[in-house]
Symmetry: D3
């Protein structure tokens, strides 16, 4: 169950309107790596979590915090949309650069949202439930959470360079700091899972690789592209990070099964079948 | 540029047909974490990679291998779809369990695909370009690649328990072994990036957290959920994995900005505005 | 900002597992009219709301409650997925009806979700941000909220007839009661908006219909389908609900503009153009 | 069965081209609340309608009219796209504001559509069948139809302020007048349903709320957000609009079920399970 | 402008209910190649058509007919959904095969549609505006229309083998006959376009291939796959169908440009850049 | 199995950056008719092909070539994105037309892609597996392939007129030449299929039209739109292209079945039912 506090976790107040930047800021609200994604991802992972205690608590804590970040960015976008030019003639009348603001803004912010934020990315594509994963395997999911926070911090860093507004930059600094914490946190949680003996690499550890394939496939780098630069990396020789083998390099992987010949299909499906091809 | 070898990297031949399992196997072909995702993700990351040498080679090598895995799974699904019952009466006539095969299969495999594989997940939802990310930041993307291989191996492990067919299981063993290699490989690549001095945590390392927030936000765990179980984890005390701070725990995070009051909107957008609310 | 209470608003505990019903229950979690829709819709409407006071409070209150309903249904689905058969042979071994449970369940619940709920509808199609609207006009949106609660209660009523499980039925009774309250609440809020002089029908009231069209178009029923049964309804005669006119019925609406003839297109777009058609 | 009359219901002729406005006008063609939505929604509701007579007639009449509105808007957009600049250099050569027209237009109008309208919204996101609902319950659906016409009229009103073109404005006036009629019509149809004894609030009326919950949940406002402004609304006290109860206000709703503890998952799904957590 | 005739173009009455087949029939209603696709595709092509006369008439005629086919299939599906079992226990009580009907049906037909048809494919994925194309080039689009009718007739043929119901089969025979006509019609229209001198192969004929490439690329078959079976086809030797060249076969196509080396990216985007790689 | 050659099939090097054109070029990369579509479509058709020999070889050859075209366009886009202005102030500082470049570019190219190409169309909508079809019937699919190459060449022709960059134009000339070849190739393949006796029109030839309908429906043009211009086309008289009949023209098609009256629905679905309508 949730409770809502009307005050914001951090201030979300631009020094001036900028409808074109409002469009861009949508990416970290409703884009693939935006706040709607991390909020929903951590909550679903937490609700589905079958382990009581600190891991479930962690997921629900952070998912709840991210809901508050959704709120902050919605607020910022709504304020950035104030006083936007509705037509080109009005935009140009305002100032010489007004045409670019008009052209670079998202029409749906006005026609659909009436000057409010939308649950979409910077191009107006709606947020999708497919953006989140809660697999039930915490190590697999914590790795996803690390990259979600890394992609998120990366996007906020880029947005920081796309605006001169001090108020916007201040909120972005706050988000960057939380992304720093959250990257560290999920990395620490991965270590904790291993220490607690709950899971290890390769995921899922409980499913062993078949002995017959171990030598040939589970630690061998196969080079399918021209050039052998990849042989110089740590992934091509030496011990593997899971501590279970030694990397090998094979620059000429061979096909191990003949060209697949398919039997004729069911004639009631009216495909093009081999038996009809007798005359070829 | 690519070349195609008609032989398969590994055999993809079931011992018998099973249209209901064919539907399930689609998840690792065209689902979010399926082979279409990893093939396209690694290729886009490689093509967009601005670093010459071993990293670009690595991405294009593995992306090319994954295209061959797409081919193997398509072949397996097509063979599993042979001899499927087209109607319930036919299904039941075949054997007592035939009704469940009829009901548990994907109608589009026959109506749309004519007995062939489809670029969709196990529920027939089409593969989406949104499943892949190539951010230009290799550390952020290699972390995504680790989880892609972990989620992929997890899904193949689950499918292994959903079939008794020896031929299917043999191909799944091969895929599991490659996922083992690929998890190790991306972990090694992350270490390599750090050793080469190209990137570090938190991503992007080149963007510093603001000094004014460091103490309060960039290493502090904020507990927004009831209970304090999360305080027992490694993420709540001790040095942070990035080596740049000490975790703190705060079980009572406060809102730091007042309830946001929005100005009236543009009356030409016909929203419900405060000034009209004078009489309330 | 949000806080999370780990206890549930209401118990979500089935008396037994039922993976096929778990699939069906997803419709009111991640379907178009499910709890994810109402939670996000009310929160976005509230955050974007430019009116301070009771309306904004109302939206944020109810959106927050609906987040707790998402949590309850996720919990129920996760419990319904316990002990599900993973393969047909296992399903049939369990009991005679097991084949239908196997065939009627959602494979992604196991392959992707590991036995947990997903942010999708009953067919596995992901929840979409396009399901929600926050237009900035409260009357238009409260009307949407009324139908959201009506569609939601309708779907829960139907699900009530699709299960015999007492624990499931008890949670559905709770949801039905809340949907009853919420239908009443949004209807009351519509009345309140009118009483407060903030908006009225037709939306947006502030934009007048053009005088030249009022007689002919703004209160006239146009019959484009064969038959005149529709003339018997209240919409064809008598005062209109907005109190601004009298309904008229016209069973033979005429086209008022000639067939549109388009000019030739830009030849650089290589369309099929009239000027090239001289010889026809 | 349908017949097509080549003449338009109303003139759709701009006074001049404007590719940037053509992009915006797409919102009311192929956006969530556009003409494709209402046309298809009313037709599906009519075709699925199990009541013979005036209601079915009403739905098919209006759905057929809306098909004609789709045609008008397609025609208008196609004309607005004439003479658009294809490149930035051409745009700037034309006139100083040409750059904003180039930048603010939808590239797909030219590359994909060859200067014609597309079945998408203003951002180029395709129209989706998920935009429409035909639930079989006419009261629930007529409420949706009211809001569809309200959102539609709201969007057309906003577009009216985004153009100076007299021909465009004239067509928008016509659409506004029809939206006025249609809002009134669906409101009247709701009253008619109630008078005919076919349905009432709360939907579905035939499904009663459980007696045990009536007092506590079906008429009680629960305040989950800080502040009690919402207590001042009509939804918090007095008789409920369905005439079946009295509203109550509860500013401190309590969780009524303990934190959900989930049993261990099936080990064959390789999730992170409690039993493995013994050593924590 | 359209008019609706309540009678159907052809009878749509099954001899009995079959909810599992109703799900399958959705593919030719709301699937990629279903009736919603052809209806909308022909209408958009007609409305956007800049040629007056017989071509525009053709497109609008057939698009209007297809709207009537949408209506027929909706009607058939609605009738097939009658008397469907809502739960597994009810399904099994009815008859031994009832479990497969329950499991093989689409839950959304009941929960969302209340026993009515939906604008989705056989898996419940919504119809998308992306399914249709109206490019402005009639030859390109008529070729798409040929395949749309071919794919459509193929799917109806397959469905014919998935049911024993005489009433269903009778409607499918009608649809097959119309698909026969429409395949022939679009082929004839392609010939007509050529005869009228409006367009020819390759599309767009008005854009010439560059002389420098003609010999090497515009009529040469390049073999990128192992094996040279393809050299035996008509596409590898002899005159090309456009009458403008002779096919050639090249079984060893070479890369004609060096490996692309990308410059460093903008450091403000925080990608992994070459200059930082100096130490590698 | 695939192998990757790092050199490109053809040079992809612009003479200068142009972020607005980079956005437009995405249409032929990840749009409905872009290179991702043809690559995946031909490969899926080839892998699912049940005919050994030249047809399967053809499909896999060309699919593999198209993967190389994906690579070329990704490379071109990445280079066009160099030196793009990140903010409006920077854009305007650069040059007077910079505002239009800023406004006309795709923000996701920078925020999400870090200056690299994305698997989306020109509006940022992700590529979808629904764009491709592999039906198992080669004639139906080769017709789709003809139109895919025609639509593709049409779009490249249009893009040719949207840029002045010599390097871009050179790559477009190459793509145009290959599209010329591929249109010819699929037309030749259609002829080959007929010569080999594998399939003919109407597709599927193996499914006969019912005798009772042949006269009336399978060769009769039905005019549902006002006007009879369509009677002048080849589709209204004379022999049909399949050689199996004579076209007829009927300008007054009649409905052949009465208005469908539906039975009452299951009352447990709470729809609006006729029996409840007794009092109307």
């Amino acid at each position: 169950m949730f409770r809502h506090v009307k005050d914001l976790q951090f201030e979300a107040r631009p020094d001036g309107p900028d409808a074109a930047f409002a469009r861009r800021l949508q990416e970290v609200l409703g884009g693939k790596w935006g706040e709607m994604t991390v909020a929903n991802q951590y909550l679903f992972q937490g609700w589905n979590c079958r382990l009581p205690g600190k891991y479930k608590d962690l997921l629900l804590d952070v998912g709840t915090e991210e809901m508050g970040h959704v709120e902050m960015i919605v607020t910022m976008i709504t304020r950035l949309l104030d006083n936007a030019p509705l037509s080109l003639s009005e935009a140009v009348a305002d100032n010489p650069g007004g045409g670019a603001i008009y052209a670079g803004s998202n029409p749906a912010h006005f026609i659909h949202g009436g000057g409010g934020a939308l649950p979409t990315d910077a191009n107006g594509v709606p947020w999708s439930g497919a953006f989140i994963t809660a697999s039930g395997n915490l190590l697999a999911d914590f790795q996803l959470n690390v990259t979600a926070e890394a992609q998120g911090r990366l996007q906020v860093s880029r947005l920081f360079n796309m605006t001169d507004d001090p108020g916007v930059k201040q909120m972005l600094r706050f988000l960057l700091a939380r992304d720093t914490m959250h990257q560290n946190m999920w990395l620490a949680a991965i270590e904790q899972l291993k220490e607690d003996g709950l899971e290890d690499m390769p995921v899922p550890e409980a499913f062993p690789d078949s002995g017959e394939f171990t030598a040939e496939y589970s630690h061998t780098y196969l080079g399918f592209s021209s050039g052998t630069d990849a042989a110089e990396g740590r992934w091509a020789a030496g011990p593997s990070p899971d501590g279970k083998g030694e990397f090998r390099y094979d620059d000429n992987p061979r096909a191990n099964a003949p060209e697949p010949l398919l039997p004729p299909g069911d004639p009631r499906l009216y495909g093009t079948n081999p038996e009809a091809a007798g005359s070829i």
